[in-house]
Symmetry: C2
Subunit: 261 residues, 2 copies
């Protein structure tokens, strides 16, 4: 009898989300300095404090588990169980006072995500996906709700500028835009959760890091959706990837074919 | 002793926002049909029901006031006092289950906005701006908080595709993007409110209708910001316009000069 995501891990994930939420709410909309990282993205004190707190809780509970965090890098990334943390996904939205950011928490087993949490502290919404279980929003099961054909689909992405650097990607995304009902931007992690809850049909993004997408995999799969890289391959710890998430296998395949050029 | 925005008008504005909020919350995240209008933007049952309800309340309270609404057009638009209503600004966000949409309510006197309300029903946030008074968020005064020079500014816009149709606008917006700290998309009416609250420095948008921007004028001006069309002219009922809003006169002027080409 093997549970693909034991209760003890689920309970730890919830504790991590609780800890991060307390930190984020304390700093949200407070005047803050912005410190540039090498990649020029803004990062807040909240980001570091939340990740530090989550790492402490993991070390206290399961000292043999690995951790990969957006702020403080990798620690035992070759362990059987590895937590992948993005304390503030959508730092630009956080700094702009717009509540579409969130805390992303994933637990990987052998490189595959078995638990994913997206926590939005301002609206008080928490999506929890775990292998072998239905995805829950604040304890209530949610399902994707594909609008039908690709021409009816609602597409979201964080920014079209994600695709500017590579001409083939820019062209593929523009073609997909023309094929759907409409495109909207600025969704950050919130757009993946809204897809799992049945309101968005497609999310397409450019190159992202594992802490940006690992948590979304169990959330979306547990709600009946499909999420892979642009080649249709699984999203894991090994490498970055361009992401395509869909409310149904049919929409996923239709979008992926366009993105493949 | 003339109050530029008498209490009776403010009280009616609040009643309209209450009525719209009840309707929007009832339909938010419920399965809905999307009915295309001629301009292809999706519009929901909530949109029509909320506007109908607000028009009834205005007619019952001040039958001589005019109304201009996004859904049902103009009624006595030449009256001294005219209410300008957008029951669901950001219908795409509403349909996508992402809480950055809102109800916009403005009261014009002689074509000039003297009252503006932006109500976000999901987060329970209501910004109220009235001529001669400080802008309030849920009853607490808010102020813009410019980050400083244009190169430090956080710029938001609903979508870059607003500027695609006119090459000069596209180029001007691209130049502004290069001049600021970063750009983010998808803000709808929420981005103007976040500017008034001190979290965003600049909002720039393409051609919009009066019900899209009139409510923002008292909200932003009452918080210390500046909002005009791209030429620096006042925003009113007379015509549509391209909008530039800023957290300070200096940022407004710097952005406007770039947008003027």
């Amino acid at each position: 009898m093997t549970d693909p995501c034991p209760d003890a891990f689920l309970a730890l994930g919830v504790r991590l989300a609780d800890a991060a939420r307390e930190v984020l709410l304390r700093y949200y909309r407070q005047p803050l300095g912005i410190i540039d990282k090498a990649d020029e993205s803004p990062v807040t004190i909240a980001d570091r404090e939340a990740e530090t707190r989550m790492r402490e809780i993991i070390a206290d509970t399961f000292p043999d588990h690995g951790v990969v965090g957006e702020e403080y890098g990798s620690d035992r990334a070759d362990a059987e169980f590895v937590w992948v943390l993005d304390p503030v996904d959508g730092t630009k939205a956080f700094l702009s006072g717009v509540p579409v950011f969130g805390t992303l928490i994933a637990l990987m087993r052998g490189g595959k995500p078995i638990l994913g949490i997206m926590d939005q502290p301002v609206t008080g919404e928490r999506w929890v996906g775990a292998a072998g279980r239905p995805t829950l929003l604040n304890g209530v099961a949610v399902r994707t709700a594909p609008r039908g054909a690709l021409s009816d689909a609602v597409l979201w992405s964080t920014s079209p500028h994600m695709f500017d650097a590579v001409e083939g990607e820019r062209a593929a995304f523009a073609q997909l835009r023309d094929a759907v009902k409409f495109v909207h931007y600025g969704g950050e992690c919130y757009q993946y959760a809204a897809l799992a809850s049945g309101h968005i049909d497609l999310v397409v993004e450019g190159e992202m890091a594992p802490y940006d997408y690992c948590a979304h995999v169990p959330v979306i799969e547990g709600a009946g959706g499909v999420i892979t890289d642009w080649q249709g391959g699984p999203l894991g710890l090994e490498s970055g990837g361009k992401v395509v998430a869909a409310a149904s296998p049919e929409l996923h395949e239709a979008a992926r074919q366009i993105l493949a050029g």
